[in-house]
């Protein structure tokens, strides 16, 4: 800025004033920047306009597993129940759902994962409220193989750690006698974004493989073992696209994407549960797993349902959570949010069979619904 020195002092002083003013503006800007960047549905987070029935916008971001239910079913259905409430949904991954709800950018953060203890303790008044039961399947693109492969968590952990490299590995053929597996390299696909599906899958591997439990552990984003044959994909749709485009690949996909993935020619596995049985993610098996776990659900409802005991329990099931702040911006938003969540967990509302069946979800068990309701009742404006 040497040129400044050549100008008159008046010019310089004016510029300095300008600098000061601009720095003020910039200062404010950086403060808000964090909130503005990810706002896929940032239109007013509260009320707009008056009238007798106040119009309220409720924004939801997060889980791509919940998205087909929320966006394709609930948004339209709720229009009839409460015409003054406008719902916006975005599939951004559970990581985004959690962080945006905690920041208050959106009213509902959808997540397949419950909140980490460190988040619950550092953010007073953030709740994880189960809305429905979901599951996850392990899918593969194996040309020439029909039917369902049998897989265990231990074998999957070894595949993702690079210890099992080929489809005709003895561990795989031993599980699947009679299936002709090709001598082709396995392409393990993982989620590159922060994902509840990653959370569920890595929790399953943590429960079934000791070395996984000691090194990688579980989270919405883990430090994947270095494996140059593997690839990362963005969102459930990205995983399905990647699996479909790469023969001999393997990945984990949320159950709401099952129909779409099957249309693309992907197969899905029967997974071994704690009792040693190989089960498909069918409603009865998911329900059996739920029944085993309901008695253990705590008041704050942060619990893993993975690898449940019981002969008929499918091993990867979970609560679909709404991450919600107790304290909302204003009473109208709080009321609308409570009303919507109450509708969502009701078996005559959002959890009714007509919405659950197309995405293979199950409604909340009757003993869990009151616990969700108790949390919903804590929302205030």
């Amino acid at each position: 800025m040497g040129w400044l020195l050549n100008r008159t002092s008046k010019w310089a002083s004016v510029t300095v004033m300008g600098l000061a003013l601009t720095s003020l503006v910039v200062g404010c800007g950086t403060g808000n920047g964090g909130n503005a960047t990810n706002g896929s549905g940032t239109s007013a987070n509260g009320t707009s306009g008056g009238g007798s029935s106040q119009n309220v916008t409720l924004n939801e971001t997060g889980s791509s597993l919940l998205y087909p239910l929320f966006n394709n079913q609930w948004v339209q259905a709720y229009q009839h129940t409460a015409p003054n409430v406008r719902l916006n949904a975005a599939s951004t991954g559970s990581g985004t759902g959690i962080s945006q709800a905690v920041q208050g950018t959106v009213q509902i953060g959808a997540s397949d994962a419950y909140l980490p203890p460190s988040m619950l303790s550092s953010n007073q008044g953030v709740m994880n409220i189960p809305l429905a039961i979901s599951a996850q399947q392990v899918m593969y693109n194996l040309p020439g193989v029909t039917g369902h492969l049998k897989l265990t968590g231990d074998v999957l952990a070894k595949i993702y750690q690079g210890q099992i490299k080929y489809w005709d590995n003895s561990a795989l053929t031993a599980l699947n006698p009679g299936v002709k597996l090709p001598h082709q390299q396995i392409i393990p696909v993982h989620r590159s974004d922060g994902s509840g599906d990653t959370f569920l899958f890595t929790q399953f591997l943590t429960d079934t493989n000791a070395s996984w439990a000691n090194t990688v552990k579980y989270s919405t984003q883990v430090s994947w073992p270095s494996l140059s044959t593997g690839i990362g994909a963005n969102g459930n749709d990205g995983v399905v696209t990647t699996l479909a485009g790469n023969p001999y690949s393997l990945g984990y996909v949320g159950i709401s994407w099952l129909n779409k993935a099957e249309q693309k020619g992907l197969g899905y596995a029967a997974l071994q549960n704690k009792a040693g049985n190989f089960l498909l993610p069918e409603a009865v098996n998911i329900q059996a797993a739920v029944n085993e776990m309901v008695s253990q659900v705590p008041t704050n409802e942060a619990i893993s349902l993975i690898y449940a005991p019981g002969a008929k329990s499918y091993p990867i099931i979970n609560f679909e959570y709404a991450i919600v702040k107790q304290q909302q911006a204003d009473p109208a938003t709080a009321t609308a949010l409570k009303k919507f969540l109450t509708w969502a967990i009701s078996t005559s509302g959002g959890d009714s069979a007509q919405y659950m069946t197309p995405v293979h979800f199950l409604p909340l068990p009757t003993s869990v619904a009151p616990k969700s309701q108790a949390q919903i009742n804590q929302i205030t404006g």
Binding site: K10, T30, T96, T220, Q221, V222
Partner: protein, 333 residues
């Protein structure tokens, strides 16, 4: 002389303030952004030190477990942030992009400036500029659906034959999601930028010089080689630097075709990679659910490194420009 009214004086003051604010804002924005990134990076710098640049393991740590205290900062247990794979991924993919884009852009610009005329030139120019306007996510989609399978089953297997000469071309080719595909996708985005700038430069080469060359019996190639290209060299290097910056900072398209590698360095041309910008984009949200906040600080440090690298390449380009400038002055004298 015209009398100066108070109205004119006020207008002059307003003008001074407005220009002062406007002129100082770019500097301030740069400083403000840099300051925020630096401040946000400090905890991560304290945690990792130089290991951030030399380390290979990128691990947010066990966010569902206990916190750990190290070097006076708090992070999730087991957290370790080594960004070398992302730094290498960014540099390698952008350099591949430039190696493809520079000849393509130069030749396209030559054709546009000297060979095509009238409406044909107009249409081709528009097409090149349209290419620059395609959103990167669209190019990424094309890369994912069309280019990656082509690299995996067509281009890659052919290129592995070059592996006899250059080890990095050796297989396995993998899924097509990786370094080469990222480089090609970036090249598609960089070509229009370099082409448009270079075309404008070539059109500024005085006709007398070129006609002089032709008059001396030079071929078209010789005119280009000995007259046009030397004349535009400085600007051309600037155009390349512009393209390089774009390639290093590109986020979405790379995110879609890179294979999102983590924890390992690329071992050949087809290996999955990840770039710094793509990692920031894909990990920021789950980083925010790290209760210790360290994951966000680590991504800030990644942004700081990216900022630093971009500045470095810019400086490098300036250095090259000034060097050729001196040399040319020497020749003239």
């Amino acid at each position: 002389m015209k009398k100066v009214s108070s109205g004119i004086k006020t207008a002059d003051k307003v003008f001074h303030v407005a220009t002062g604010i406007a002129a100082s804002s770019p500097v301030l924005f740069l400083l403000a952004i840099a300051a925020v990134v630096v401040v946000q990076s400090i905890p991560s710098i304290r945690l990792m030190g130089w290991h951030f640049i030399t380390g290979i393991e990128w691990n947010v740590g066990n966010t569902y477990g206990a916190l750990m205290h190290k070097n006076g900062v708090t992070a999730a247990a087991g957290a370790s942030f080594g960004a070398l794979p992302f730094i290498i991924g960014t540099l390698a993919s952008s350099v591949i992009a430039l190696m493809i884009a520079i000849p393509v852009a130069l030749f396209t610009a030559l054709i546009l400036a000297y060979r095509l005329h009238g409406w044909v030139q107009w249409i081709v120019s528009i097409l090149v500029e349209l290419l620059a306007g395609i959103p990167s996510v669209v190019i990424g989609l094309w890369g994912m659906v069309v280019l990656a399978p082509f690299v995996a089953h067509g281009l890659g297997p052919v290129l592995t034959h070059v592996g006899v000469l250059i080890p990095y071309f050796r297989g396995p080719v993998g899924t097509g999601m990786g370094l080469l595909t990222s480089g090609i996708v970036l090249a598609v985005m960089v070509v229009p930028i370099i082409t448009a700038t270079t075309r404008d430069l070539l059109q500024q080469v005085p006709v007398l010089y070129r006609e002089g060359g032709i008059g001396l019996g030079m071929t078209t190639w010789e005119v280009v080689r000995y007259i046009a290209v030397p004349y535009i060299r400085e600007g051309f290097i600037g155009a390349i630097a512009l393209g390089w910056g774009r390639a290093m900072g590109e986020t979405m398209a790379v995110l879609m075709v890179s294979g999102n590698a983590i924890n390992f360095l690329p071992h050949n041309l087809y290996s999955p990679i990840s770039s710094m910008a793509a990692v920031i984009a894909s990990q920021l949200d789950s980083a925010m659910s790290d209760g210790s906040g360290m994951a966000v600080h680590a991504l800030s440090e990644l942004a700081l490194v990216l900022l630093g690298l971009t500045l470095l390449t810019n400086l490098l380009a300036r250095l090259l420009v000034s060097r050729t400038h001196h040399r040319r002055q020497g020749v003239r004298a």
